[in-house]
């Protein structure tokens, strides 16, 4: 008998994880991503977080120095502290939007693909319509509509403020690509013999979707999220730059917006700090997302790595 000789059998996810971490570049990228997440947690904890609020006009527009590694802004506020605070907004928005988009995309994709018929037509129509609208305009529209809305859910009153509208807008528009992928893949798996076998063994539709089909398509959600995370960070920056995002709290987009007026004075450090912060997380997410895709879906394996 030919068989894995006595060893413990590795699951799909464990071996994929090993493969990702086995690549030095992907492991380094993961370290950078974890650093950004750690900064986010740190800012939320409020424990000895650098002060970005105290204004001191005498310190305005100081170039980078030991006391202020990234210099100061027009109010004499520390740019490094602002960048650190900006991390919190960027990561929080991207994380929330990713989870929301993944949940909607997975659920609708599985339902459309599995049940087909009218439900499939409806969901396909919905995402085709959303996809037909230019992305940034769509987000802007959603953010405008959702802003300052009050609604009650389970007896609780909610008010959607600026940045929350961005979370929702990104999440409510970002599921389209994933949904289409999951739908197609679900249709492919729906009539596979192992699904038919499970139905013959008395499994309900619900159980078939969750136990048989979901494990075979969920890697697409992981790949899409890890590669889509960057676009949410970028979207937050763009929306904040356009004045639709956070107000009165540091954000990379707001920093770049401020820098519009600073550059002609030769004040380059605020722009540089925000850009660098975006650059490193983008690069790391790209490298990591690529490695994740290669490990989870070898058919799509590209060059390099």
């Amino acid at each position: 008998m030919i068989m894995n000789a006595g060893g413990k059998s590795q699951g799909y996810w464990i071996s994929a994880g090993r493969e990702v971490l086995g690549r030095p570049r992907a492991a380094a990228a993961l370290a950078v991503i974890l650093l950004y997440l750690a900064v986010t947690v740190w800012v939320y904890s409020g424990y000895r977080v650098p002060d970005w609020e105290s204004e001191n006009f005498e310190l305005a527009y100081r170039p980078p120095s030991l006391a202020h590694p990234f210099g100061t802004d027009i109010y004499g506020r520390d740019v490094l502290a602002k960048t650190i605070y900006g991390t919190r907004i960027a990561i929080t928005v991207a994380l929330t939007a990713s989870v929301l988009a993944a949940a909607i995309g997975l659920a609708l994709g599985l339902l459309a693909g599995y049940f087909g018929g009218r439900l499939d037509d409806l969901i396909t129509w919905l995402y085709s319509t959303l996809q037909a609208i230019p992305y940034i305009l769509l987000i802007l529209a959603f953010a405008f509509v959702l802003q300052d809305r009050r609604f009650s859910l389970l007896g609780l009153q909610f008010r959607i403020r600026g940045i929350n509208a961005v979370y929702l807008a990104l999440g409510l528009t970002g599921w389209v690509g994933l949904c289409r992928l999951i739908r197609g893949e679900t249709i492919k798996h729906r009539d596979r013999e192992y699904v038919i076998a499970a139905r013959a063994l008395g499994a309900s539709s619900f159980r078939l979707i969750l136990r048989q089909i979901l494990p075979n398509v969920v890697h697409l959600a992981v790949i899409t999220i890890s590669l889509g995370f960057i676009s949410y960070i970028h979207a937050e920056v763009i929306l904040s730059f356009l004045g639709l995002g956070v107000k009165n709290v540091p954000s990379w987009g707001v920093m770049i917006d401020d820098a519009k007026l600073e550059l002609f004075r030769g004040v380059w450090w605020q722009l540089a700090a925000a850009t660098a912060a975006i650059f490193f997380i983008s690069l790391s997410l790209h490298i990591f997302g690529d490695a994740v895709r290669d490990a989870l879906d070898p058919r799509q394996r590209g060059e390099g790595g």
Binding site: E193, A197, L201
Partner: protein
Amino acid sequence: MTGGKEDNGILLEARGLKKYFPVRRGLWRRTAGYIKAGDGVSLRIERGKTLGVVGETGSGKSTLGRMLLRLLPADEGEVFFDGRDLLKMGGRELKSARRRMQIIFQDPYGSLNPRMRVGEIVSEGLVNFRVGTRREREARTARLLERVGLPPEAAALYPHEFSGGQRQRIGIARALALNPAFILCDEPVSSLDVSIQAQILNLLADLQEEFSLAYLIIAHDLSVVEHISDRVAVMYSGRIVEEASSRDLYREPAHPYTRALLASIPVPDPDAPPPGAAADREIAPEGEPAEGCRFYPRCPRRRDRCRERPPELAEVAPGHLAACFLAE
């Protein structure tokens, strides 16, 4: 049909099963015609017995099998399992019927979920029907794996760690888990090496004796079903054209299509004349008649009257049915 036995010996009976798949064409997807995968199929399977169903690719064998288990809804017809109409059952009743009828597939790669461990695959049915505790299910899974000739440690592994024959054994263990009375074997050995085919067929025969299982074995190759079947039905284009005991069918095939199938079995003798002698008449240029016998264009013994109306399945000898005017 003549089973020659009382009704209570019948486990599964199908009457007039029909399944037409619409063929859609053009921009508006108009129905341009139908593929008649099942066109009034009736059959009976006795408890503990085996019915072989043979026919070429596209003859409707697999469609028939899936209709029998209600994995594919039939357009028309009835399926009685243990005397109750399977096609009229509601959710709960259907689920409890599923417990007693199982399926084994042709492709040992596509039929096992690549993301599940073998133990989870085999115990799926036990979980669905809440049989025993987790530990009891594990113990039963281990016994099932041993029964089909795999070590109990296989439960912790993934399907890709097994060969094709081993995977087929896993599929058989899965089908056995709920103690079924009937197992549909859809081309159980077609994708296996010849040396492995015999092992799997012997295993199926042993299990039949041990658990008094009834089988419906689908194959495109008469030689596979010859030894394991009690009766054999030959399908052509969605209809059963001949049905007889395994012995009679091989000794005295009545339908020209059955003869062609038998003649196409390769003989392991290099000096034997090449097969295919039975189908040496040219294909009829007028094609398949709208009425009449479906086999007409390819039949070496076709007559004009075969075009006029379809031949009914009728007894040509005791227990031997054929749908051919020339066999009557």
